[in-house]
Subunit: 159 residues, 3 copies
């Protein structure tokens, strides 16, 4: 590859669109890693990703076991009601060991670290939600146009 | 975060790779939001995302209920043949209320708004499809090299 | 759309985060397409995407049939233990016809073409893995901070 030097990344705009633990964590971890490096980070929660910032849901998020062949479980086993809970508990234990906080604490940590958190207006309306359903760390409910404005100069990362 | 001002985003290159309603809509909505703001938008349909532009499939796209813990259904319930249809009908009703058009009309609207729509050559060949299987709004079937050429100056957003 | 000319894309930084065949191939194909065009390519494997570079797993990766409505199978049928294997064998046959190599050979080809391959440190620790569990083409196990450093000047594409 080329040896060309580029100026360092200054800003990321991360979209979290999935509602499972394995769908939410990559975006949170990338946002946090950015802030640790002094990179500006905006996180935009949309579709099922809204789960991560909903007061009533954020503590109940599970790993997606069915439909994920990487879990190495025969499909019929993955369907048993307890399996997702089991995989979730395993993953949470491992994350705890690595000092990766649960979703609610992670959101607080990100906000404290200066990341800006936004909920997608269209999804909020589709699911009949209101500002009060979200944790106070959510800066605003914004539409796609505002998302693009806030993403000026950023790498957009859709997770 | 820094208060640095950046020039506005000029162009997005959106890849749609999933074949469920919840996999297709985020990309369509982001492409449309871009055009509304005067941002250039190219949409590249690949893998199961081709569903969105296939004449025979685009009106039959469903929500992925199984393997999506955010649907809040016990896994065995999500498996019942009718559940995906039920979730799909609910989501379509809500989108209709928000004036979000069905996939086929959305594709027409995007094309009318000046978005460029492309199908991925490798996937087209893998699924034994031809140009005629796609809606006329599809500008061309292109390979990855051409995708990168058309993405010059754009934020690439893989959904 | 505007007729503005932009300088060509110089570098991509591709994140592979899913562990199914249909989750892994788009990233591999985009990385390879980049190298073919003289575009620098870095591939970062994280979460279940690690499957693609694990010696013991890379030859056993399957298509996700359950939870993928684009497969056109009734959900209960998709659950039968043999269905994912069947879809996987179909997809592999088609890819072979198109000269798309299996995952292990694809990784070798990418490395030979000059792509840089990295494993995500947090996931490696979460799954109790070590450098020796990975194919020798993996350049290093790196954290998010190093990922951002290596992504300077690149389009980040999260698949």
């Amino acid at each position: 590859m080329s040896e060309k030097e580029y100026p360092p990344l200054e800003k990321v705009s991360i979209v979290i669109s999935k509602g499972s633990l394995d769908g939410i964590y990559p975006g949170l971890i990338m946002a946090n890693g950015a802030r640790m490096e002094g990179i500006d980070a905006t996180v935009f929660f949309t579709f099922f990703g809204l789960e991560a910032i909903l007061k009533k849901r954020m503590k109940k998020i599970k790993v997606a076991t069915v439909g994920n062949p990487a879990m190495h479980m025969p499909s019929l086993l993955g369907m048993l009601p307890g399996m997702s809970a089991f995989a979730t508990s395993m993953m949470k234990k491992e994350m705890d060991r690595l000092d990766i906080p649960p979703v609610d604490e992670f959101i607080e940590m990100l906000s404290d670290a200066g990341a800006e958190l936004y909920a997608c207006k269209a999804t909020v309306e589709m699911f009949h939600l209101a500002k009060d359903d979200f944790v106070p760390q959510v800066d605003a409910i914004i539409n796609v146009a505002t998302f693009y404005e806030k993403s000026a100069g950023a790498q957009i990362i859709f997770t």
